[in-house]
Symmetry: C2
Subunit: 153 residues, 2 copies
């Protein structure tokens, strides 16, 4: 019985992604990256990366919030927040005040300039998300947010 002749291996014309597309983690990451890509373009004018934006927005909406509370909310580590906070402070967007009940902590507050910038930036962020999610109806988008939050909240 003769051995089979050397197999000719075929090329892939179209990549079959059906399996990985069944995975929530894969799909969530792809959407996350799609949003970040547009975010970096549109928010460059405000010199805000996604993490800067999240931190500054939480400070605007939570006057007196501490670094530790920001870490807990956003899943950041304290050492990685130090430079970010100092950067926002040097830009005159926020300022530290003594915490009313805890001498170790600082309460973070947006300045008038910080509030004005974030008012614009939040409008831009919402607009950019409208574009990224343009293929979704208002109802679908609402459902999407609700289901995402149901997973991690």
């Amino acid at each position: 019985m003769p051995t089979a002749s050397p197999t000719q291996h075929a090329a892939v014309d179209e990549v079959d992604t059906r399996y990985i597309e069944t995975l929530l983690g894969y799909n969530a990451r792809r959407v996350s990256l799609a949003v970040i890509e547009v975010f970096l373009q549109r928010m460059a004018v405000y010199k805000l990366r996604p993490v800067d934006f999240s931190v500054a927005s939480l400070i605007v909406h939570n006057p007196g919030i501490t670094s530790r509370q920001l870490c807990g909310t956003l899943g950041l580590l304290p050492p990685n927040l130090v430079g970010l906070i100092n950067g926002l402070e040097k830009r005159g967007l926020i300022r530290k005040r003594p915490h009313p009940r805890d001498g170790r902590a600082s309460g973070l507050h947006a300045t008038a300039a910080g509030m004005a910038l974030m008012r614009e930036a939040e409008t831009a962020a919402t607009a950019l998300e409208d574009e990224v999610a343009a293929r979704l109806t208002a109802s679908e988008r609402k459902t999407l947010l609700r289901l995402l939050q149901k997973v991690y909240l």
Copy 2:
């Protein structure tokens, strides 16, 4: 008219996250991180990070796929794939074969050991995702995947 006495600034008891929770990017990232956290735990036994898993799975389901096709599909950069591919090859999970039509490229193929490992790993990945998405009904999960894909596909 006396100057106002130094303002006492309040502390934040509960963080108000209502604004950022309206953002698709924020929610998608949170879910992505929630899945990755469990993924790293459960897949450590297979020594597969999320990116290793995605690459190996695509190779299993697309015998003869090239590095460049993997990069295009997963949004990776060629230089960052070289070490990953070599690692999978050294572990005996995949092998390179000459591409049938393009002498510059290699076709990537899973070995028997690679196919066996990925059969287990894909079962584990699906199981772990079931746990992460446990708060969702089957119907809700299907809707979530469909809406996520509608955004980026």
